[in-house]
């Protein structure tokens, strides 16, 4: 039983490190956000293994449930701004300002 649990821990740590690395090294921002969400879920599991259920709850709810959608909406807004920029390539209007504001 002990062996299984320590094996689980080792797999968990390796998966976390691999997720973190692939999240940082990927070129696709959408993929990075998805990897970030799965990283948060596994991190909550790691907090449970460290016997900190309060932190695990906060990580699952805040780190995954709220930050993920927040990143997605920021991504959508970035894409919308980029499309506007392409359409209004020459005219300098407010969209460029808001673009730099949000980045």
């Amino acid at each position: 039983m002990n062996l299984i649990i320590s094996l689980f821990d080792i797999v968990l740590v390796i998966t976390l490190l691999w997720l973190a690395w692939s999240m940082l090294s990927t070129e696709d921002i959408f993929k990075a956000v998805v990897l970030f969400i799965s990283f948060g879920l596994l991190m909550a599991l790691a907090w449970v293994r460290m016997r900190a259920p309060d932190v695990a709850l906060a990580e699952a709810a805040l780190g995954t449930g709220l930050t993920g959608p927040l990143f997605f909406s920021a991504l959508r807004r970035m894409e919308r701004l980029r499309q506007d920029e392409r359409r209004l390539d020459t005219s300098e209007d407010r969209d460029a300002d808001t673009d730099s504001e949000q980045e």
Binding site: S25, D54, A61, L62, G65, R77
Partner: protein, 247 residues
Amino acid sequence: MPILTRNRNNRKRLDPYLLLLFFFVACLVLWLGAILCSLPMGVPGLGKEVASLQQRSGVQSPVTAVLLNFRGYDTFLEVLVLLLAVIGVWSMTLAPFPSGEVEKSPVQLGVVRLLTPLMVLVGAYLVWQGSHLAGGAFQGGAVLGGAGVLLLVAELPWLRSVPSLPLRIALLAGPLVFFSVALYCLLRQGKFLAYPQDTAGAFLLIIETACALSIGVTLASLFAGGRPDDDLPETGTPSDPQGGRTE
């Protein structure tokens, strides 16, 4: 970002700035590792002290006792930081709601209708559970905020006309209740945030409920990304240097 970048001739070359950054990060990691190795092993921590004072804190959960009673000042400042974040977002722009009606599928509306009350219930339960098990104001508030995010993602039409005053009251409820309890303790006990021992549990529950409401509204407002429409209109005065968006 890879350190090896390819230039036009498709030959690998080293970016000196990235290499320097990599070097500094490696030094930092090594330094932190050395510090970690030099720490004494098996320090018992403060668990015993907390357990010996558990009776006087008014709650059964040691985490809640530390967060709200023994180190209540830190939690108060955390709640204020969240409030500051919303003030920052609100001062920048109006909440950008997509213009035009979007055809919503009945499945989505049904899911929202089913899940939102459930999430509110779970959030309230987490706040209540905080007094004796894992849970508390931040976790419950996060679930409430998740319910708000669900409503915002569904783009329900009435969200556009949410009045600003109730939102402001809900945002301020947690910090205000926390601060008034702290002031009451200052007048009664002579110390900031030193709850009277017999009513500490009730005080903590009141603070947690108000803070959970505020945290939920705060997180949902952060997701909305701006102040509501009927809030201060764009005036273009020089006192507004960010010059919010007028669309």
